[in-house]
């Protein structure tokens, strides 16, 4: 280990590893330095200059986020000089800003507003620049609203889209006074390569990038006595929602959330986890079918690996950028869309409700799901399968609007028919979860035995490494699967599209080695989705991940094929996995898209 460097901050001594910034050193002392362009997920840009501090012997102020701590430094974070400079910088940002906070979606949750409030910027020394009046708001995307008049040009979104997602749909354009965040030729977000993943929204400190919200639409449906409003909640929502109410990251709030949804007036509260289990049966069967065709040599055209298709951000990404790999995608819809299709068919029929009067709402950690719900092909029920998609954040807003005291709500359980789930579904919310759930089922189908991992926990596919791999050898399979005897199933898991790209760009001979690949568009999987509570950071995502695996361990059933309601669904309605009916309702096809 290298020698640590010692410095003082506001007179207090602190030691840090060489290479750590002044900001990190101050954090160690619990001294808060305001920041805007800095984000723990991203490379350091040092362009907002809000974090400037005084460093002895330096006649200028230095940016705490971008300046390495050095031996013997003497830093002051709160001198008159620093405060004056900081005030000026916030005033400058505000002079360039459409600061109508009371009409802003981010009101109360905006980092710029927060710093202005902390500094008590009560007057504006400088003239307003008003150049934002020339800007138009881009509300063409079903997922994201981009409002340049609220942008402080911290470039967090651009770095997010490049470093985490490798999409580069957003860029910094022009220079000087004209510099702004732009898509290709300033086209609407809906016309470019953007995947709607919402990571830029999650990382934007202001109201410049926000989700397109459907809160009023949902309130209207809830108020309409002729409508039967059903809601589904995705696996990752229950480990994030609590943060919106001041609970520690990683607090599980499943029961409270269900209660809250009932109190908001939803007629039936059901669980996307149910269709997550269903996905495993459909996708697992598809995988086995493809394995049979290719390994047993029935059909040389069948493509391996099979790539998971639960993440609509990932789907749009591959449609734009890797059309040559499209045939590898599983044809399964995402759990949200499977649920939607069943809600207005199976559920409606079982409950004897006219599907026309059903409003199907989903609560998702994701903004891409808003886009997915609107894809033209997503109406297998004869109606729009999912009518409104709300993010975790929008649900929190509704709960607050309804005046519910979330912390003291009692816990309750999901409604029946499509409300039951297993631990395998719970882990869909974490990167690697779909893979693990699939392996739990597939291995057992093939061998008649449980996966050979302690307590069913397939740890090699867990964790936050960008790309993870696992190999499981099939031994002594059941007679039907004899051709798999001795075959090593190779799997890869990637999260964050920048990692997905690495897998997709593998040369064919390496790519084709795999049998099954799971890809989630967002860092950490859905638990780090673009609709989850802000802020996000590696640490917060880790805590949510721990909660997800705890949820799994706490479930009485932990394998998708054990889900009694899913078994019932097949027995009473679908027949068997990948049946004709299942194909009609639960599978989909993909679209070729332009590369830019």
């Amino acid at each position: 280990m290298e020698n640590k460097v010692q410095l003082t901050i506001n007179g207090q001594i602190v030691e840090v590893q060489p290479g750590k910034s002044i900001l990190e050193a101050a954090e160690k002392l619990r001294i808060h330095i305001p920041t805007l362009c800095y984000h723990k997920d991203l490379c350091v840009k040092g362009n907002c200059r809000v974090c400037v501090v005084e460093s002895k012997h330096n006649k200028r102020l230095v940016a705490a986020c971008a300046t390495p701590a050095e031996q013997g430094m003497a830093i002051v974070t709160n001198s008159l000089k620093v405060r004056n400079a900081r005030r000026h910088i916030i005033q400058l940002l505000l002079a360039e800003h459409n600061a109508d906070c009371t009409k802003c979606y981010k009101n109360g949750q905006c980092e710029l507003q927060r710093i202005a409030a902390d500094l008590k910027i009560l007057n504006q020394d400088f003239s307003e620049l008003n150049q934002w009046k020339k800007y138009t708001v881009d509300y063409y995307s079903p997922s994201i609203i981009k409002n340049d008049s609220k942008c402080i040009r911290c470039q967090r979104c651009v770095r997010t889209c490049a470093e985490l997602q490798g999409v580069n749909a957003l860029t910094v354009a022009h220079k000087g006074e004209k510099m702004k965040i732009s898509t290709f030729l300033a086209k609407p977000m809906s016309e470019v390569v953007c995947t709607n993943c919402g990571q830029c929204v999650n990382h934007c400190p202001t109201g410049a990038l926000v989700e397109r919200n459907y809160i009023e639409e949902v309130w209207a449906a809830l108020a309409d006595p002729t409508k039967h409003v059903i809601v589904q909640t995705a696996p990752a929502v229950r480990v994030g929602l609590g943060e919106e109410f001041g609970l520690e990251p990683g607090t599980r709030v499943t029961g409270k959330m269900v209660t809250a949804l009932r109190q908001l007036g939803f007629d039936t509260v059901l669980d996307t986890d149910f269709t997550a289990d269903l996905t495993i049966l459909e996708e697992g069967t598809e995988l086995l079918g493809r394995l049979k065709s290719s390994v047993a040599g029935d059909n040389a055209d069948v493509k391996l690996p099979v790539i998971s298709s639960c993440s609509p951000g990932w789907i749009k990404y591959i449609e734009h950028l890797f059309p040559n790999r499209l045939s590898h995608l599983s044809s399964c819809k995402s759990p949200q869309q499977m649920f939607g299709a069943l809600a207005k068919t199976y559920y409606a029929a079982s409950r004897k409700i006219d599907p026309k009067s059903i409003v199907s709402v989903s609560i998702m950690p994701c903004t891409a799901k808003k886009y997915e719900a609107g894809r033209p092909e997503m109406c297998s029920s004869g109606y729009r399968d999912v009518d409104y998609v709300l993010t975790t954040r929008e649900l929190a807003i509704m709960i607050k609007q309804a005046g519910l005291d979330f912390g003291v709500l009692s816990e309750s359980a999901y409604d029946k028919l499509m409300g039951q789930s297993t631990g395998a579904a719970a882990i869909f919310g974490a990167t690697g979860g779909v893979m693990e759930a699939a392996l739990r089922t597939v291995y057992e189908v093939v061998t008649g035995r449980e996966v050979p991992f302690e307590a069913l926990n397939i740890t090699p596919v867990r964790g936050m490494e960008g790309i993870r791999e696992a190999a499981i050898e099939v031994k002594n399979p059941l007679p039907e699967w004899q051709f798999l005897d001795g075959v090593t199933l190779r799997c890869a898991v990637a999260h964050g599209l920048v990692n997905a790209r690495k897998l997709m760009e593998l040369p064919a001979e390496r790519f084709n080695q795999y049998h099954f690949i799971e890809i989630m568009a967002c860092p950490g999987g859905c638990l780090g989705g673009g609709g989850q509570p802000i802020p996000t950071s590696p640490e917060i995502r880790n805590r949510r991940m721990e909660a997800i695996y705890a949820e799994d361990m706490g479930m009485p059933l932990r394998k998708s094929h054990d889900n009694p309601e899913v078994q019932l669904l097949y027995a009473n309605y679908l027949g068997s996995p990948n049946s004709k009916k299942a194909h009609e309702l639960l599978h989909t096809h993909y679209t070729l898209r332009e590369r830019f």
Binding site: C48, A85, D125, F126, S127, L129, K175, G176, E177
Partner: protein
């Protein structure tokens, strides 16, 4: 500070066509000798920041790196500066020799001339020279190649870290410093960036020796400097002068008899009003310019017919366009300053607002990410403070 009489010198453009000899003779010395010569000559960079050239080469030679690079900064974008163009069109061999020597000293095999797009017409001739030079290097077994990289109209790319970004195919947004180019420059490798003129002075030192170079100029400002003289002067052009003269001498020589103020160092430099001509020395430690003579020896003269308000307005228009736009104090600050002086001029704001703006330039100087935003204060405060009346009426 020490001053001396204005003296015209002819070292830079006198071309005895002996570059091959000078190259061979210099390379016959070891690296330490060359670095020591530069260090003892006290040569400071002519690109603006005035960093000691010998030290820069030394640091880069000592920095660890698989590759190293030698970059000649020919982005010359500072308003009122045109000497690098002249050097490149007349004595480019000298520049190449110094680049090759530097490359040997630091361990670089590749040299790049970052030439501003506005000087594209220099390329054919320059490429010819480079080819001839390359052929000679080939014959003498020196493993060094030079290429030209053209800019495309962005003043900020003259800032060395923005220059790297541009070379790497990105927007020319300056990087955080540290790390400094001597450790982490082009492609993340140790890199020397030198101004065109700095390299020619290095050549002079190789040819005549450090002692001879040091005889010129005054303490802390050694040698000569090329001055780009423009504005209200009957004899606009490029002049090589010894450092250390007073501004009043300079004005006597170049002025039109009615000089009201001189902008020293381009738009990022300072405006010196007539009453301060005597006390201002032209060198790196001029009293008025504080630490360094900013940017490259541009001298713009203004006579009494000129409105200093218009001058400042023109500079601020330049900065608000040419700022890279990434950092708050510079991007927004430049706009506020520009708008602000117009508002005061039009009477929409009272003169006290100028005081507010002066405070803002202090913040810009303290907090901007790079030299551009930091130096807007120079011209702003020197013009506003000295020509307060002109700003208002």
């Amino acid at each position: 500070m020490e001053q001396q009489l204005l003296k015209r010198i002819d070292l830079i453009f006198n071309d005895e066509n002996d570059w091959q000899e000078i190259l061979d003779q210099t390379l016959a010395h070891d690296n330490t000798y060359i670095i020591n010569a530069l260090v003892s000559s006290e040569l400071k960079g002519r690109g603006g920041a005035g960093f000691p050239t010998g030290l820069k080469w030394k640091l880069t030679s000592e920095a660890p790196g698989i590759e190293k690079y030698m970059i000649c900064n020919a982005d010359e974008g500072e308003p009122g500066t045109f000497k690098d163009r002249e050097i490149l069109s007349r004595v480019s061999f000298k520049v190449l020799v110094a680049m090759a020597v530097c490359a040997r000293v630091i361990g670089a095999k590749e040299g790049i001339i970052y030439l501003r797009g506005e000087y594209k017409y220099l390329v054919p001739q320059l490429n010819k020279t480079i080819a001839e030079f390359g052929a000679y290097c080939g014959r003498t077994g020196l493993d060094f190649n030079v290429r030209i990289f053209l800019g495309s109209g962005a003043y900020i790319c003259g800032e060395e870290t923005a220059l790297f970004e541009s070379l790497e195919g990105h927007r020319g947004e300056p990087r955080n410093k540290p790390p400094f180019p001597t450790d982490y420059g082009f492609r993340g490798m140790p890199t020397v960036v030198n101004n065109v003129e700095t390299l020619v002075h290095a050549y002079t030192i190789f040819k005549y020796g450090a002692a001879r170079f040091k005889e010129l100029g005054v303490a802390s400002s050694r040698g000569t400097k090329l001055f780009s003289v423009s504005g209200d002067t009957p004899i606009a052009g490029i002049y090589e002068l010894e450092l250390g003269m007073s501004l009043s001498q300079f004005v006597e020589e170049f002025g039109d008899g009615d000089t009201k103020a001189v902008q020293v160092g381009g738009a990022s430099g300072f405006l010196v009003p007539r009453k301060k001509f005597d006390e201002t020395t032209i060198g790196f430690q001029g009293r008025l310019t504080g630490v360094s003579l900013p940017t490259g020896g541009s001298m713009m003269l203004f006579n009494s017919s000129r409105s200093m308000y218009n001058v400042l307005n023109n500079y601020l228009d330049f900065f608000r366009e040419e700022s890279c736009g990434q950092c708050t104090p510079c991007r927004v600050g430049c706009q506020i300053l520009h708008k602000g002086i117009e508002e005061v001029k039009r009477g929409e704001r009272n003169a006290k607002y100028l005081q507010t703006l002066l405070l803002l330039t202090e913040t810009m100087q303290l907090t901007a990410k790079c030299g551009l935003g930091q130096s807007v204060a120079n011209s702003f405060s020197s013009i506003v403070e000295n020509f307060w009346e002109e700003m208002i009426y």
